[in-house]
């Protein structure tokens, strides 16, 4: 049976920068786990929760996101009346600037659906889960809106939104990037509220001249509205800076984490491509603890790394602790350690690139090094 909620995914987050890898594309379109992109997880979670109407707000650099989402068919969201809706900014004829605010286009999308609830998701986290427990918690707690949060166990690192709750679980304080947060509760931008309330909030913001929209905007209404939280205990990677991105990628090489993220219960859908099978050539080589994808051609040594589709590793190359995006070519004799290499990069023969555990080197898209 279907869920009486529509989804709204915010593909960008102006407070977040992931080195150079989110420069050519929306945060939502950043590759992750080899053949996936960040948005795949929240889109799949929505579909796996019985949601059949999802809007994606993309403000800029949305070409690769649109290429990826296409008609929504990969997530079974190519539907006649419901399905996937891209919500790009409107552009004015003369000035060629957006002539209607983002909020207005979101209002148009939200108004045209008939579901009672809206589940809004940002793109700065990766998890595999049903969103129904959040909706259920919201129905049970009687709040105006309910937001997911996690207890941060690791070292605190900005950007982060820290929240405080009273004994009843109601949000009482919201601190953005505070250097010494008093609580270990970090907001995850996944929030549920009634469609009518969202429309009211959006229209009110429009009328007051605010044109942007984010989950943080909503959270900040905690003193006007009742905002409660659901604490998520399962695996969830926050991706708010490049170190977090790199660590999350490496964490996937652990069997347990990988099997939690890619479970039979909540399949993660992505755009599929007709690449040939991955070929590992006859030569004896070291190949250990590697996530690789279709279309790869592995002729060199690879350890503790994530290879996206179509990566070529030349003979005698040594690739360690690295994340290689689609169609990266590593020539013969290259040595890499702690490197993130964006799409279509060519690393020439014999090059050595060595980064650090907490400071991976990032090579930009299309570069030839």
């Amino acid at each position: 049976m279907l869920t009486d909620a529509m989804g709204l995914i915010l593909a960008d987050n102006e407070r977040i920068r992931l080195g150079k890898i989110d420069e050519p594309r929306s945060l939502a379109a950043v590759p992750f786990a080899g053949r996936h992109r960040i948005i795949d997880f929240t889109l799949s979670n929505m579909v796996n929760s019985g949601i059949r109407r999802v809007g994606i707000v993309a403000l800029t650099r949305y070409k690769s996101l649109m290429d990826h989402t296409g008609t929504g068919s990969w997530w079974d969201l190519d539907r006649i009346r419901q399905g996937l809706f891209m919500i790009p900014p409107y552009v004015n004829m003369t000035t060629r600037r957006p002539d209607r605010t983002d909020s207005q286009s979101i209002i148009d999308y939200v108004e045209s659906g008939h579901q009672e609830y809206v589940i809004i998701s940002g793109s700065e986290f990766v998890a595999s889960m049903s969103y129904l427990p959040l909706l259920d918690a919201h129905l049970a707690n009687g709040a105006d809106m309910t937001m997911l949060c996690v207890r941060e166990k690791d070292k605190y690192s900005a950007p982060a939104v820290t929240i405080d709750v009273d004994e009843s679980g109601r949000v009482t304080d919201v601190l953005v990037d505070h250097p010494l947060p008093k609580s270990d509760l970090r907001a995850v931008s996944l929030v549920v509220l009634k469609r009518d309330l969202l429309l009211e909030i959006l229209q009110d913001r429009m009328a007051r001249g605010y044109s942007d929209f984010s989950a943080l905007n909503l959270l900040r209404l905690y003193d006007l509205l009742t905002v409660r939280t659901l604490i998520h205990d399962g695996l969830l990677f926050r991706i708010t800076n490049i170190a977090q991105y790199f660590n999350a990628s490496m964490a996937l090489l652990n069997d347990e984490a990988r099997h939690q993220l890619f479970s039979e219960e909540y399949p993660i859908y992505t755009k599929v491509k007709n690449r040939a099978p991955c070929l590992v050539t006859p030569e004896s080589l070291t190949l250990r603890n590697v996530l690789a994808s279709d279309g790869c051609m592995i002729q060199g040594n690879v350890e503790n790394s994530v290879l996206s589709r179509g990566v070529v590793i030349g003979r005698g190359a040594q690739v360690r602790n690295s994340v290689l995006f689609q169609d990266v070519q590593i020539s013969e004799g290259v040595t890499l350690d702690h490197v993130i290499i964006d799409k279509n990069v060519v690393i020439k023969m014999g090059v050595r690139l060595l980064g650090q555990d907490d400071y991976p080197i990032v090579i930009e898209k299309n570069a030839i090094v």
Binding site: R35, R258, P267, I268, Y269, P277, T281, R288, D294, V306
Partner: protein, 426 residues
């Protein structure tokens, strides 16, 4: 727009009995091939790459898996408004009903379907050959010859020619004689089972063939020899690329191995002539901490923790640490437990091998009890949807059938066919 210049009909109704346990529940064209493909991907991708937009698939035997796999043809860009992919099973008419009697009869029964597109040319293709071919070039050649029928032929080694249908042609490539499996071939040009017909001529020949009570209603045995005998314009079109009939266990194994040994000949990475397949939603594949891998084709969803050499690994295969797999084909969703040792094996979809199962061509203490005449050259086949119990050891040329779950339940059990679930997933 509904009018189509050239349409293709793929014969996918045969039982494929020489593949034994591998085609017990599925039609041969749906058998997995080359890590991420099914056999039918090749003719379907050929159609796509040739600009053919209407394809009829004639099914009859165990079509559910095949139908689910093909779906509406979307994976091959063959879900077209004007045309597209049509599954054509036999059906009941006001006048009665018959199953397809032979390849020619299956096309005969679908004359109204073909007529509705008013094509000039109709390609008749087999659903069980591995090759990449631009049919548009063949149709253009057919047209240039003013032919009524054109048969694609490929040069085979002289010593193998007696196993094929051999075309004897004149200097103008016109077929003057067709010999089915000649003891003393005059020629080494073998029919590939790929025919291009002028629809008008084929239509006439099919109606005639149907009226002949002695005919087996088969293209190779009746329709084409008949056309040659009547002096129709039958031509042989020479094809030079890779082509393989995968009708036997050994040829299926060989064709898979060709992808590793001759990747240049059967190039799956050619962007200009891609082979498409139905893509399932899987995470990237994973090479474990202590695996040893060499000369392997592997696709997404697999997890390899053991030693794998010279093998074809399909989607969702798991090879545990301590298992050794060599010169083998693991079809989708197979599970190879620790201590298993496989050499020259084909493991059918969804089959689980418990720890320490062994199957090699010369296993010292292997049982003879599973020897099967469908296997040769030391190849062993495990049927799909089975659990192979710990301790089973097989010498080469063995086949484990689903029926063995009844015969030797202590060694073989049935497993829930989870591929059904997978089928639905994408």
């Amino acid at each position: 727009m509904a009018k189509q210049d050239t349409i293709a009909m793929i014969l996918a109704g045969g039982q494929g009995s020489r593949l034994g346990a591998l085609t017990d529940y599925v039609a041969k064209p749906a058998v997995p091939f080359g890590s991420r493909y099914r056999i039918i991907d090749f003719p379907l991708s050929n159609c796509m790459n040739s600009g053919i937009e209407t394809v009829g698939v004639l099914t009859q035997y165990q079509p559910l898996e095949l139908n689910s796999y093909i779906g509406n043809g979307h994976s091959w860009d063959l879900d077209r408004n004007s045309g597209g992919t049509f599954i054509l099973p036999p059906y009941v008419r006001q006048a009665g009903s018959t199953w397809y009697k032979g390849t020619a009869n299956s096309i005969y029964q679908n004359i109204p379907f073909i007529d509705s597109y008013q094509p000039r040319y109709v390609l008749i293709l087999s659903g069980d050959h591995i090759y990449k071919m631009n049919y548009a070039k063949m149709a253009a050649w057919h047209e240039s010859k003013g032919a009524e029928a054109t048969i694609a032929v490929i040069e085979v080694p002289w010593e193998e020619a007696p196993r094929f249908g051999i075309m004897n042609t004149d200097e103008n490539s016109r077929v003057v004689e067709f010999e089915e499996k000649p003891a003393k071939p005059k020629n080494n040009l073998a029919s590939m089972g790929v025919y291009c017909f002028t629809w008008e001529s084929l239509r006439e020949a099919l109606i005639k063939d149907e009226q002949n009570p002695d005919s087996r209603n088969d293209f190779g045995a009746n329709v084409i020899p008949g056309m040659i005998d009547e002096g129709k314009g039958v031509f042989a079109y020479r094809f030079d690329g890779y082509w393989k009939d995968v009708g036997t266990v050994f040829s299926l194994w060989e064709a898979n191995m060709d992808l590793l040994e001759r990747p240049d000949v059967m190039d799956l990475r050619d962007e200009m002539f891609p082979v498409f397949s139905r893509n399932y939603q899987q995470p990237s594949h994973y090479f474990g901490e202590n695996c040893r891998i060499s000369n392997v084709a592997v696709t997404d969803g697999a997890e390899l923790y053991g030693d794998v050499e010279n093998s074809i690994i399909s989607s969702n295969v798991i090879v545990e640490e301590g298992a050794v797999v060599k010169d083998s084909i693991l079809m989708p969703n197979t599970y190879i437990s620790a201590g298993v040792r496989l050499e020259r094996c084909i493991v059918g979809m969804d089959t689980l091998l418990e720890p320490n199962v062994r199957a090699t061509p010369d296993e010292p203490d292997g049982t003879e009890n599973f020897r099967d005449k469908l296997c040769s050259n030391g190849i062993t086949v495990f049927g799909p949807n089975l659990i192979i119990r710990e301790g089973l050891a097989l010498k080469g040329n063995s086949m484990v059938w689903p029926n063995d779950a009844v015969r030797v339940p202590e060694l073989v059990a049935e497993r829930y066919p989870s591929w059904r679930k997978e089928m639905g997933q994408c």
